[in-house]
Amino acid sequence: MNKIEAIIKPFKLDDVKDALNNIGVNGMTINEVKGFGRQRGHKEMYRGAEYQIDFVPKIKIDVVVDSSQVNQVVETISRSANTGKIGDGKIFVLPVAEAIRIRTGERDENAI
C-alpha cells in the first residue's frame, strides 16, 4: 500500500476530488495548509506599514491506495490539479506499513 500526499491549489480541490472519484478512489483526507516553494508570497499593507506574506494557502490531500493503483492516481491528480502556473503544487508517494478499519477491524487491503 502507498500513501499519496498531494499539495494543490485550494480552488482545484473539487476538480481533483471528482477526478479521483471517477477512477474509483472514494476516500481521502484533506488538510488546509500553508507553504511555498518557488511561488513566493506577496506584499500586504496595514495602516501604512508593509509586510510580506511568505506562506500561501494550499490544500493537502492524503489518499491511501493499493500499490498497483499508485501510478494511475498520481497521473489523475497531476492532470486535474494542473494550471500551468507557478504554485500548482507537489505529489509525494510514501509506503504504508499497515492499514486498519476501525469499525470492523479489517486490515490492509480490506481496510482501504
Binding site: 499593507m45 495602516r47 501604512g48 508593509e50 509586510y51 511568505d54 506562506f55
Partner: protein
C-alpha cells in the same frame, strides 16, 4: 358620521378644559404651561442624547476589538465595560462634584458629591444633567483603553480608570465647563470655546493615552531591532467599521446634545457633525491612497473619527462649509500623525492618540480660526491656552499615575502572558472558543514571525524588542 365625530370632539375638548384645572386659562398660566413644555422637551432631548452617547461605548468596544488580536478580545470588552461602569460610580461619587460643584477658586468644584444636589421630590434637572455628563466622562476614559491594548494588566487599568473619571477629567472639565451647572472655570471665564469637548473630552483621553503608551512601551513584535515597524494586524475589520458607524451615530447625541436644550440650534450642529466626519473619512482615504498606493480601511475609518473629534469643539459656532474644511484637515492630520507616532516607537494599536489627542487639539484651534462671529488674535490665543493647559494638566498627571501603578501593582503583563493572550491569562477564557487564536509570536494569520523560546526569555530579561527575522 362627520357630525357625530365633530360633536364628539367638542364634548371631549370641553371636558378636557373643565378637567385640566379649576380656572379658565389666562395669559400667565399659558406662559407657564408653554415654559413647562419647553422644560420637558429639554429633559427629553438631553436624555435621548445621553443615551446616544452611551451607545458610543459599544462603538469604542467594537473599534478596539476589530483593530486588535482575537486573543485579547475579552480583555478589550472587560476594559470597556469597566470604563463605563466604574467611571459611572466614580463620577457619581467624586467627579461630578469636582467638575460642576461650587468653585470658589475657578480650579475645581467642592460641592455636589454623591449627587447631593438632588433630594427626592426636588428638582430633577441635576439628574438629567448628571446623566448627560457621566457619558461624556466615560467617553474620555475609554479612549485610553485602545491605545493601551494587548499588554496592560487588568488591575492596573482599573486603577487608572477610576482615577481619570474621579479626578483628572473632572478637574480640567471644571475649568472649561463648570458654569454649566454650579461651578465656574478660569478657562471659560477667558472665553474658551469647546462646545462639546474636543479638548475637555477627547484631548484629555488622548494625552492620557499618550502617557500610558509611553510608560507601557510597544507590544512585543511591533518593532525590529533597527526600529522598523512590523504591523500587528487587527483581527476583524468589519467589527472596527461597525464601531466607527456606531460612534458616528452616537456623535449625533454628543454634539447636538450639548445644547442640553430642545431648540433649533441642534440642526446646524447635526449638519456640521456629519459633514466633518464625511470630509475626514474621504480625505484620510485619499491621503492613504496617495501615500501607500491603495485606499486603506484602517486609516479611512480613523479619518471619519478624526473629523468627528475635530468638529466637536466648533460644532455650534462654525458654518457647514467650515465644518467640511475642519473635518478634511483632520482627515489628513490623523494619517500623518499615526505614521509619526509609529515612527517614534509609540505603539498605539487603534490610533487613539492621533484621533483624539492631536485632532482634538486641531478642532479646538479651528473653533477659534473659523469662529462664525469672526476671529482674532485673542480668540485664537485663548484656544491655544486651553489646548496647552489641557496637555500640561493631563499628561503629567496621567504619566505619574501610570508610573505609580507600574511601581505598585505593575502596569504591563509579562512577555509570556502577552504572547499567550490576555483573554486566557487575565480572564480565564477565550473570546472565540471554536478557533485557535493564540499564535506563538503573536502575529496574525500569515507571516509566521514567531519568537523562539530563547528570544522570549531574552525579551523578558532585557525588556527590549527582539530582532524579528
Amino acid at each position: 358620521m362627520k357630525i357625530f365625530i365633530i360633536s364628539g370632539l367638542l364634548v371631549l375638548i370641553s371636558g378636557v378644559r373643565t378637567w385640566a384645572g379649576d380656572e379658565a386659562p389666562t395669559v400667565l398660566t399659558n406662559k407657564e404651561a408653554i415654559a413647562l413644555v419647553q422644560t420637558h422637551a429639554d429633559y427629553v432631548w438631553t436624555l435621548v442624547a445621553a443615551a446616544l452617547v452611551f451607545f458610543m461605548q459599544a462603538g469604542f468596544a467594537m473599534v478596539e476589538a476589530g483593530f486588535t488580536r482575537a486573543k485579547n478580545a475579552i480583555n478589550i470588552m472587560m476594559k470597556n465595560l469597566m470604563d463605563f461602569s466604574m467611571g459611572s460610580l466614580a463620577f457619581f461619587a467624586v467627579g461630578f462634584g469636582l467638575m460642576f460643584g461650587v468653585s470658589k477658586t475657578g480650579w475645581f468644584g467642592t460641592s455636589g458629591f454623591f449627587l447631593s444636589d438632588f433630594s427626592p421630590g426636588g428638582d430633577p434637572w441635576v439628574l438629567a444633567f448628571w446623566m448627560f455628563q457621566v457619558v461624556f466622562a466615560a467617553t474620555a476614559a475609554t479612549i485610553v483603553s485602545g491605545a493601551m491594548a494587548e499588554r496592560t494588566k487588568f488591575v492596573g487599568y482599573l486603577l487608572y480608570s477610576v482615577c481619570i473619571s474621579a479626578l483628572i477629567y473632572p478637574v480640567f472639565g471644571s475649568w472649561a465647563w463648570g458654569s454649566l451647572y454650579k461651578g465656574s472655570g478660569w478657562l471659560e471665564g477667558l472665553g474658551f470655546i469647546d462646545f462639546a469637548g474636543s479638548t475637555v473630552v477627547h484631548s484629555v483621553g488622548g494625552w492620557a493615552a499618550l502617557a500610558g503608551t509611553i510608560v507601557l512601551g510597544p507590544r512585543l513584535g511591533k518593532y525590529t531591532k533597527d526600529g522598523k515597524v512590523k504591523p500587528i494586524l487587527g483581527h476583524n475589520m468589519p467589527l472596527a467599521a461597525l464601531g466607527v458607524f456606531i460612534l458616528w451615530l452616537g456623535w449625533f447625541g454628543f454634539n447636538p446634545g450639548s445644547t442640553t436644550a430642545a431648540n433649533k440650534d441642534i440642526a446646524m450642529i447635526f449638519v456640521n457633525t456629519n459633514l466633518a466626519a464625511a470630509a475626514g473619512a474621504v480625505l484620510a482615504m485619499f491621503t492613504s491612497w496617495t501615500k501607500f498606493g491603495k485606499p486603506e480601511v484602517g486609516m479611512s475609518l480613523n479619518g471619519g473619527l478624526a473629523g468627528l473629534v475635530a468638529i466637536t469643539s466648533p460644532c455650534a459656532t462654525v458654518t457647514p462649509a467650515s465644518a467640511i474644511v475642519i473635518g478634511a484637515a483632520a482627515g489628513v492630520i490623523v494619517v500623518l500623525s499615526v505614521l509619526f507616532f509609529e515612527k517614534i516607537r509609540v505603539d498605539d494599536p487603534v490610533g487613539a492618540i492621533s484621533v483624539h489627542g492631536v485632532c482634538g487639539a486641531w478642532g479646538t484651534l479651528a473653533a477659534g480660526v473659523f469662529n462664525i462671529g469672526g476671529t482674532s488674535a485673542k480668540i485664537i490665543g485663548v484656544q491655544l491656552l486651553g489646548i496647552g493647559a489641557c496637555f500640561l494638566w493631563v499628561f503629567p498627571m496621567a504619566f505619574l499615575l501610570f508610573k505609580a501603578i507600574d511601581i505598585t501593582v505593575g502596569l504591563r503583563v509579562s512577555a509570556e502572558e502577552e504572547l499567550e493572550g490576555l483573554d486566557v491569562v487575565e480572564h480565564g477564557g477565550s473570546a472565540y472558543p471554536d478557533f485557535e487564536v493564540s499564535h506563538a509570536g503573536g502575529m496574525g494569520a500569515f507571516g509566521g514571525n514567531g519568537l523562539s523560546n530563547t528570544e522570549i526569555a531574552a525579551e523578558k530579561m532585557l525588556r527590549k524588542p527582539v530582532e524579528q527575522t
